[in-house]
Symmetry: D2
Subunit: 118 residues, 4 copies
């Protein structure tokens, strides 16, 4: 897929997959969010007990596996946004603006603190 893949195209793929299996009936928002958290757990499991250079090396070796888990997470994000009629690109841009206000460059530069502690 080219770099120009849109969120709408990926959402369409996920929706087609779901429709073919008639799975929307199971996709209440809570189970969808739960399923998302299970995929994040699978991503984290790849990193369990590894740190620093060893972790980095392991992740590069497991890049396909990591890509699979990130795809599963992304799939649930796209489906939940679709089901709740959320315009995800618009929400994303709005949230980044909000983050920029919470973390102004002059205060947050080089500092890993929550905005409430800046």
């Amino acid at each position: 897929m080219p770099d120009s893949t849109t969120l709408a195209e990926l959402t369409a793929i996920a929706l087609k997959f779901r429709a073919e299996r008639d799975w929307q009936q199971f996709h209440n928002p809570k189970d969808v969010a739960l399923s998302m958290s299970l995929e994040v757990a699978e991503l984290i499991e790849i990193m369990q007990w590894r740190n620093g250079g060893e972790l980095q090396k392991h992740l590069m070796a497991e890049r396909d596996h990591v890509g699979q888990e990130l795809s599963d997470i992304l799939g649930w994000v796209l489906l939940l946004a679709h089901d709740l009629q959320i315009d995800l690109p618009a929400a994303f841009v709005a949230k980044m603006k909000q983050n920029a206000e919470k973390y102004p460059v002059e205060k947050a530069k080089g500092i890993a603190k929550k905005y409430t502690e800046l």
Copy 2:
């Protein structure tokens, strides 16, 4: 943002935000994955103790909030894919193909079971 927003565009926004704050130094993969899990928790918290019609109604009322959490999750997905040089659209399409093989329509239609139990 139009429906034609690409993953590359959203990734560029997240990278610019990070570069301006010089935050890449903190973004080791484990803390990034952890942060993703914290955002999923914030999404789930919106649904805590609510179910059925009440949950659906609450989520529609909280749609902006849900969109913010989904955006935060998506942001971490995009950054981690970028940092590990993963072509996320390609990975997504490949994973959906793999899922389609694990869950063939004739076996999985209308059934919410893990592929190992089908």
Copy 3:
């Protein structure tokens, strides 16, 4: 084990298991907390896509499995408390008192809301 099993006894079992395998070296707090979250994910996975009476029935059938996951979670809780020299029974009693103040009976009775919304 009788009902009179103490937290100290269970902690001792977990510590002995760890010492025999020389695993304390891997148990930095972040990976321990991560591992705890992975066990919670395994617990949640038992409940995925099931709700209401079907979920209840499934959990009773899977009681041994649920007990295993709860035990794994408990094990990490006990080890982390031990490693950080936290007196968990004392902390528990103190936290329940704090919760009682945050959720006074006359305000919270029969209401599933966060204390900030009561």
Copy 4:
């Protein structure tokens, strides 16, 4: 509380707290497991962006806070075990035996790998 506090005593405290507030009606197993995962997220948040010596120091300074989150997690573990009529001390001892078989000392000593990879 002395070191001799039993799981049964802590469970009794949690049950009394719940009964006084008439909250059992909300405690379906899925929302209980979800709530447990939210408390684990709060624990993990204390560790976000910190590592090594800095993390260790921060956790010692935040020991009360950590104890509160561990207590909340423990509370949900005890309540779920109670609600599903699971004898948690017995389950714990059984699971540790199972773990000992999955990870025999001679194979697992000093090695942080999943049993399937040993």
